[in-house]
Symmetry: C2
Subunit: 196 residues, 2 copies
C-alpha cells in the first residue's frame, strides 16, 4: 500500500490517520483533496489552465483518468472580463444577480454593436502517464441591456447567442445544449472519444 483514501471531509480525522500512516510511507488522501478546487484556489489565467490544474491534480492523486471543466464569459468591451473570474465577478460569494448587475453597469452606454461577447468552456481530460487533452467550446453572442428569461443560470439572462432573438435564459434545456459553449465542447470531446 503506498496511499490510502480516508472517506471523510473532517480535517481532524484526516490528521489522526496521517499520524498513523505517513511514518510508514503511506500517503493519506482525503475527500478534501478531491473536491473541485474552489474559486479562490483557481490560480490559472485561462479556462484551459484551470480545468487542467484540477484534472491533473486529481488524476495524479488517484492514478486514474479524470475530467474537469471550467467556463465563463468574455466581453470584448470589457477587455474579455469577467473571464476566469466569471463566477465571482462581483465578489467571492458567487452571486449571479450581483454579477449581472456589475456587467450591466460596466456596459452602460455601450452601443449594441460593441456589446459582443462569448461563453467559453474548456474540458480537460487527464490520464496518468499521458498528456492532458483540452477541448474548447464557444458560444458567440452579445450582452443585452436588461435581463430576459428564467432558464439557465449565471449570465444566461443577459446573453443573446448569435442567430437568436431570445436570451440564453429564454431557451429550453435542449435548445441551449444545441448551441452552448458546453454543448460544443462536449461534441468535440465526443469526436476525440471516437478516435480512441
Amino acid at each position: 500500500m503506498d496511499k490510502i483514501l480516508i472517506a471523510t471531509k473532517n480535517q481532524g480525522k484526516v490528521s489522526d490517520f496521517k499520524v498513523l500512516f505517513e511514518p510508514k510511507g503511506i500517503k493519506v488522501i482525503s475527500l478534501l483533496d478531491l473536491d473541485p478546487i474552489e474559486d479562490v484556489e483557481e490560480t490559472g489565467t485561462t479556462f484551459s489552465e484551470n480545468a487542467t490544474l484540477k484534472s491533473e491534480a486529481i488524476a495524479t492523486l488517484l492514478n486514474m483518468p479524470v475530467i474537469s471543466d471550467d467556463s465563463g464569459l468574455e466581453i470584448d468591451a470589457l477587455n474579455k472580463e469577467p473571464g476566469v473570474y466569471s463566477a465571482r465577478y462581483a465578489g467571492l460569494e458567487k452571486d449571479d444577480e450581483k454579477n449581472i448587475d456589475k456587467v450591466l453597469e460596466n456596459l452602460k452606454g455601450v452601443a449594441e454593436k460593441d456589446r459582443t461577447a462569448r461563453f467559453v468552456c474548456a474540458i480537460a481530460v487527464s490520464e496518468p502517464g499521458k498528456e492532458t487533452i483540452v477541448e474548447h467550446g464557444y458560444c458567440e453572442g452579445k450582452i443585452l441591456c436588461e435581463r430576459r428569461g428564467e432558464n439557465g443560470f449565471g449570465y444566461d439572462p443577459i446573453f443573446q447567442p448569435d442567430g437568436e432573438m431570445r436570451s440564453m435564459a429564454e431557451l429550453n434545456h435542449k435548445e441551449k445544449a444545441a448551441i452552448s459553449h458546453r454543448g460544443n465542447a462536449l461534441r468535440k470531446l465526443a469526436d476525440w472519444i471516437e478516435q480512441q
Copy 2:
C-alpha cells in the same frame, strides 16, 4: 480506459459525460459517488457494517485502499439506542442539542447506576482484492442528568467516562484522545499497521 472520474458534484454535468462515455463501456464516476454515504443511506444496523459499506464501495470504485469510520453512543437503559442513529436521533437535521434533549428526556427518572453507556467507533480498511478489516474502539461511561462542558461535540456534554469526574466535553483534546472510542480504535489500527 475502463472508468473515468468527473471532478464535479453537478448532477447535470455528470449526466452529460455519461452520455458520452458509457456507450463506449467506460464507467463514469463523480465526486457525488465518493462523498461519505449520507445518514439516510447508512443502511447498516451496526457501526461496523456502516463503515464497511462506505469503505468497500469507494475502494471498488477507485481501485485503491480506503478507510471509513462510523461511531455513536449506546445507552443500556434505552436498549442500546441511539446506536447507529446517534447523529439523527431527534431528526434528520443532525442537531446535537435536540439529540441531547431527547436522551435526557428518555432517561428521566432513571437512577445513576442504570445510566451506563458507551461510545463505540468502528474503523474499516478496505483494499481491492482483500478482505476488509474492522477495528473497534470503546469508551465506557454513564449519561449525566444535565450538560457539562463546552469542548467536543455530539453527546460529549452528557457523557462521563468511567474513572473521570468530568464530562467528555470538559476534557481537552489530548485528554479526550487518550480515552475516547476513536482514540482506542486508532490505537488498534496502529497495531494492525505495524503488523503489515
